[in-house]
């Protein structure tokens, strides 16, 4: 039983075709995103299928996948909540926002994914939007000047199945949708 359906395999071929002939390996990150958009993370079977598409060993793909924080090798929440606590956000209360996000998601010490599978909360490094500090990314789109109260509201909105309006642009429906955008096979509305 495969991860990628025939339709997704066709999309995988368009991803590989972006790169010069003989340089297919460059497609490894977008292909991992494509697998992630199906599984919500990248399982061993997912790694194997990417390897097969590129003519690599599974271990070679895993070596790359494990380097990057946005490729998830463990089951991940339906929504990924990244809270920046780097200096500019910390100076504006980012650490309190992070604590509030963890509490609102019901996370215990050392836990990153909520029991109901809805949220994965991360303490994040600088997200390149310090003018909006403290910054929270939900499924990789920004919410600016977020207070502890606001982050609780944001999580409540997600629980109700709503998509909170980001500071700029459009938001994906969830983490899997974001991964389709990252793979370059779908656009944000």
């Amino acid at each position: 039983m495969g991860v990628l359906t025939p339709e997704l395999r066709a999309e995988a071929e368009t991803i590989i075709a972006r790169y010069p002939a003989g340089r297919e390996r460059s497609a490894i990150l977008p292909l991992l995103y494509l697998v992630q958009s199906v599984e919500g993370w990248v399982s061993r079977e997912g790694l194997r299928e990417v390897a097969e598409l590129l003519g690599l060993r599974t271990a070679e793909v895993e070596a790359v996948a494990s380097f990057y924080t946005m490729i998830r090798l463990r089951p991940t929440g339906r929504h990924v909540v990244n809270v920046c606590t780097n200096l500019s956000c910390a100076l504006r209360g980012g650490r309190e926002v992070y604590a509030a996000a963890r509490e609102a998601a019901g996370l215990g010490p050392g836990q990153e994914r909520s029991e109901d599978g809805l949220f994965t909360v991360h303490e994040e490094e600088c997200l390149g939007a310090c003018d909006g500090a403290p910054v929270v990314q939900i499924d990789f789109v920004n919410h600016d000047r977020v207070s502890p109260e606001r982050v609780r509201e944001l999580l409540d909105e997600l629980r109700r199945g709503e998509v909170p309006q980001p500071a700029r642009g459009a938001a994906p429906r969830d983490f899997r949708h974001a991964c389709r955008v990252l793979a370059g096979v779908e656009e944000l509305a």
């Binding site: 061993r44 599974t58 946005m70 200096l87 390149g128 003018d131 955008v181 944000l188």
Partner: protein, 458 residues
């Protein structure tokens, strides 16, 4: 307020420039049109004459970089736009792309034409989901209007541009790590030489430029090298997008001539320190540049002046701390970043950043030891310039600058066995408790079953 000179942010108030039509109405793609009338070498000469220097941190002359690309290797040449903006405090590239993506595409097209390249990549930071989508849309428009593709603006020149998204790794902003990542490898830096201009992407001659650098190029082609060279100081000509954040009234991006004194950026543009408090410390160009203090208010913001002041222009990302902020806490947060982002290739970086982080953590928690300060100095000395890439040099900046300007504050933490700002720590008159165990690694492994050897060798 001083008269603003805005080049790459001149249309920031006009929301229509995000589209192709709006960009063209504002004079867009005229620089590319002019470039295509020149020979590639003449384009390089023009950029060289402008004195434009890279805005990503290193300040290398852009035209000179382009001129290093050999044309007789029999290999293709490539242009890579570095949009992996991740230096703490930096957010200029993001706004440039979000507001005016075609400006970047025009710069890429001119650079590619100049080095006779037919394929360019934009390495977009993974976390920039929306800015990447803005670029994707702009690319589609550019193809639709014949700006990219088989016949660029109706000429015989062919160019394709591909958006490539990263996946969360600060190190990939370093140019050789970026190339490794783009080739589908772990994002680890490579030995230089050979420099990317000789052997870059796919072992072929490659020019890698920062987004802001490329955004200046169309304006230089449109208005001429002399126009650009006349702005700002002679050795650092032009303007710079300064990102200012932290404890200021109006954080944001402000494009000012190079050499503008920090005081002007802080007081006239950013509205001064938040709540009228006193300035304590600031980074001129992200956390990788040594902190400066209130005594440096009048330092001009350009490559040479900041170097003379003991710091660097870096990315022009100013993070401001006020009198109520604890420097030990700030330095701890900054070095934690480097420990987290070290790719692990070089031992002084992988080990050094981890130990430095632990030392700052224990000082802030009230468990510092008097010998910690010489130990920090020793570690810094064993890190600086001891790696393949400048990540660990960046980590030395918060160490050395906190020791240089705020030694007393560090000593006070150790003597009082607590943070004087937060009050946290065991304090005096109590029995010293054992130092808390260090936190678990911030990036734990996959935590899955052991893989049989037969699988690995498959």
């Amino acid at each position: 307020m001083s008269e603003p000179t805005r080049i790459v942010t001149a249309h920031f108030d006009d929301p229509s420039v995000v589209s192709y039509e709006g960009y063209v109405r504002a004079g867009g793609y005229e620089g590319l049109r002019r470039a295509l009338q020149l020979a590639p070498e003449e384009v390089i000469a023009e950029v060289k004459a402008s004195g434009l220097r890279g805005r990503g941190g290193a300040g290398f002359p852009t035209g000179l970089k382009w001129s290093f690309v050999p044309q007789d290797t029999g290999k293709p040449t490539y242009v890579v736009a570095n949009f992996d903006e991740s230096e703490p405090g930096t957010f200029g590239n993001r706004e440039l792309v979000e507001r005016e993506p075609h400006q970047l595409l025009e710069g890429i097209a001119i650079a590619a034409y100049a080095i006779r390249s037919h394929l360019a990549f934009i390495y977009c930071r993974g976390e920039f989901l929306w800015p990447g989508s803005v670029l994707q849309r702009a690319l589609a428009e550019a193809y639709e209007h014949g700006v990219l593709g088989e016949r660029v603006l109706g000429s015989d020149y062919r160019l394709d541009v591909v958006l490539h998204r990263g996946a969360g790794a600060y190190i990939c902003g370093e140019e050789t790590a970026l190339l490794s990542s783009l080739e589908g490898e772990r994002g680890q830096p490579r030995q230089r030489p050979p420099f990317p201009a000789i052997e870059g992407l796919y072992a072929s001659p490659t020019v890698i430029n920062n987004v802001e650098t490329l955004c200046f190029v169309p304006h230089i082609l449109r208005n001429g090298a002399a126009w650009f060279a006349a702005i700002g100081p002679e050795r650092s000509p032009g303007t710079k997008v300064f990102s200012i954040s932290g404890k200021v009234e109006r954080p944001g991006n402000y494009e000012l001539p190079m050499g503008t004194p920090f005081r002007v950026l802080l007081e006239e543009h950013a509205g001064g320190v938040l709540g009228g408090r006193a300035l304590k410390a600031w980074t001129p160009g992200g956390s990788s540049t040594p902190m400066l203090t209130a005594e440096h208010l009048d330092v001009p913001l350009d490559f040479e002046s900041l170097q003379q002041a003991g710091s660097m222009l870096g990315t022009g990302a100013v993070m401001v701390m006020d009198e109520t902020d604890c420097i030990v806490d700030a330095a701890r947060r900054m070095v934690r970043f480097y420990a987290h982002e070290s790719c692990g290739k070089c031992t002084p970086c992988r080990e050094g950043t981890w130990w430095v982080k632990r030392i700052f953590e224990r000082i802030e928690a009230g468990y510092g030891r008097p010998e910690d300060l010489p130990l920090l100095e020793d570690l810094a000395g064993n890190m600086l310039f001891r790696g393949f890439c400048p990540l660990l040099d960046g980590a030395v900046s918060p160490i050395r600058s906190s020791l240089r300007y705020f030694r007393e504050e560090l000593e006070r933490h150790i003597a009082e066995r607590r943070c004087p700002f937060s009050g946290r720590g065991p304090g005096l008159g109590t029995e010293p408790e054992p130092e808390p165990e260090p936190a678990a690694p911030s990036r734990p492994g996959p935590g899955r079953v052991t893989i049989p050897l037969s699988e690995v060798l498959r």
